[in-house]
Symmetry: C2
Subunit: 350 residues, 2 copies
């Protein structure tokens, strides 16, 4: 198989973790006879420094013409204290999502026995947790009209959804549920929001096409409790953009380490794969960052190409490192291995 992969190393630890993923992808290509071609491009603080723009047109161009995008991390502390600045790294990411119509953000939430001691939750609450969040990513209050009055004393953000925007991600979520434990939970606030009532209506209508999947509904405030009280109950969780931002980050604490959680953002064309962790600038360049989030994102990329066996092998290799204590400093501050050593171990394994 021949594939073009756009690579956005991004900011902070982005470059060093992404490099390990590419090493693993190359090892997979070698073992299975595929050819992956990489084109590097810029986004985020790095892009602002080099071009003045958080998302140069060239990056959009390269991404549109690629089969998938591997992305590292975004953000630099120099922008953190002023979210009102005219040019900011996140704008690049939001614009890329919109330009590529990456309408579904997919976040698996799984736990690893070897990391149970790191979770803030009691072990009995997290054993066998295995769900996936489908977050709508290109609509809602993120992209609605934003206004600030002339005197600066009043502001507004409009949350808008069309039935079409809801339909396309809902189909993906139902299809995912069919391949899993056949349960879909829609998280909304239909007792207050008109957009949530539209979500409920559309999702209920589509449900009839997936009669093997059990559908239920949870108000977002209740969902925020249930995710901690009883995360085992979930299989596929579907929700709109803003609620998804909040509950997917909340759910990420369950496993005990943000460092190894992957994500995929899927659209009609090219899809983007990135670890959920941030750019973690304090660790940049020290070879101590956890590359597993990026490597497991690369596994999702392989799945996306239909290379299920290859993806499975990468996950097997990751499990093998964890159960044998080959872990980075965030997991074991005393007996730890370097970012690059993990990349090497995993590429050797696959």
């Amino acid at each position: 198989m021949n594939k073009n992969i756009a690579v956005i190393e991004g900011d902070g630890i982005g470059p060093e973790v992404t490099r390990q993923s590419i090493r693993v992808l190359n090892a997979i290509a070698d073992s299975f006879g595929h050819e992956f071609k990489y084109t590097y491009c810029l986004m985020g603080a790095d892009a602002i420094d080099k071009t003045g723009s958080p998302l140069p047109d060239e990056t959009i161009e390269v991404c549109l013409n690629s089969d998938a995008i591997l992305f590292g991390a975004i953000g630099h502390p120099k922008y953190d204290n002023d979210p009102t600045a005219k040019v900011r790294p996140e704008q690049g990411l939001l614009k890329l999502r919109k330009s590529l119509q990456l309408f579904a953000n997919i976040r698996p939430v799984t736990t690893y026995t070897a990391l149970h001691h790191l979770s803030p939750l009691k072990t009995k609450n997290i054993e066998d947790v295995d769900f996936v969040i489908y977050r709508e990513l290109t609509g809602g209050i993120y992209f609605g009209k934003k206004e600030i009055s002339a005197d600066g004393n009043s502001a507004s953000d409009d949350c808008v959804y069309s039935a079409e925007e809801i339909e396309r991600i809902t189909h993906l979520a139902f299809q995912a549920a069919q391949k899993r434990r056949k349960k879909l939970t829609l998280v909304d606030k239909a007792n207050v929001l008109e957009t949530s009532r539209l979500w409920r209506k559309v999702v209920k209508e589509i449900a009839s096409q997936y009669s093997d999947v059990e559908l239920d509904f949870l108000f977002v405030d209740n969902a925020a409790m249930q995710i901690i009280l009883n995360p085992k109950q979930f299989d596929v969780v579907l929700t709109e953009n803003m609620f998804g931002d909040i509950i997917s980050d909340e759910a990420s604490v369950i496993s005990g380490s943000l460092g190894l959680l992957p994500s995929a953002s899927i659209g009609s064309g090219s899809a983007l794969f990135e670890p959920i962790h941030g750019s973690y600038p304090q660790a940049a360049g020290k070879d101590i960052a956890n590359p597993l989030g990026s490597i497991l994102s690369a596994a999702m990329l392989l799945d996306h190409f239909g290379l299920t066996e290859e993806a499975g092998l990468v996950r097997e290799a990751v499990n093998w490192t964890l159960t044998n204590g080959f872990v980075t400093k965030d997991i074991d501050p005393v007996n730890f291995y370097f970012t690059s050593t993990l990349g090497e171990l995993i590429s050797d394994y696959v």
Copy 2:
């Protein structure tokens, strides 16, 4: 002291827990020589059944003319499956908040050693957790313009905030921080929302009047993680309506029991006090519900009247029941006491 208290027993277990609070308030009145006069009124499913409206005008009238409102719980399962129904219990609560301008919802998050084993979080993560959430309650996306297109294929909810709406709750939150550990955290999404940027601007401006309070900012997605990862870091958390709905329910899981968490909703006039738990209809009429959430809400009501000593005594009595194992079925399903027994023990104590 003479005070008029409006009492809305509401739905499900609302009446039986509220009765225990009134018993405790009467005991306090006896011991300290106060006079509390109660006027009963209707809201919620109960009000719909009896009058057709979730909030009869008479209730608004009584509440406006009272010094405080003691409220039980709202909601009945017959409305749960259809959030789009024309008349629903929650509408009563939302309308009451707006009519009385109850703009600040205050939710203390504390833990009790006797309940640590019930928390989904590891004990070391919850020891000494003690913070309070100030949620804006009458603005934002809850009360903005809601639209559904003629063909039903597009919906919108507008989120609007004025500087004034932000100012009044911000002052309350800073004043609370001054009486506590002098730290205020604003939770927003200023990297995406115009309204959040207005919140940040207004809160920063007001901060100069409270120079003894340390102010920091957290994006709501990060806050959703931090509340579970490290809840000890918070003192006063300030946020807008929708984010407050989500994170205050999330935070409520920390203590291990929703049954004993109180809340206050403060406005320019009369204030409302209610347990955070719902109407829990399965338990209604069985004398098994936990009355502590309501009784601790009554303690907040006493604080609101400036009766600090009285409020302290109620809290002392509650602690005494917990440490001596006088607990309801939700806390100990084997050796449990009845709702009314707890009310009796606590009124005898005070």
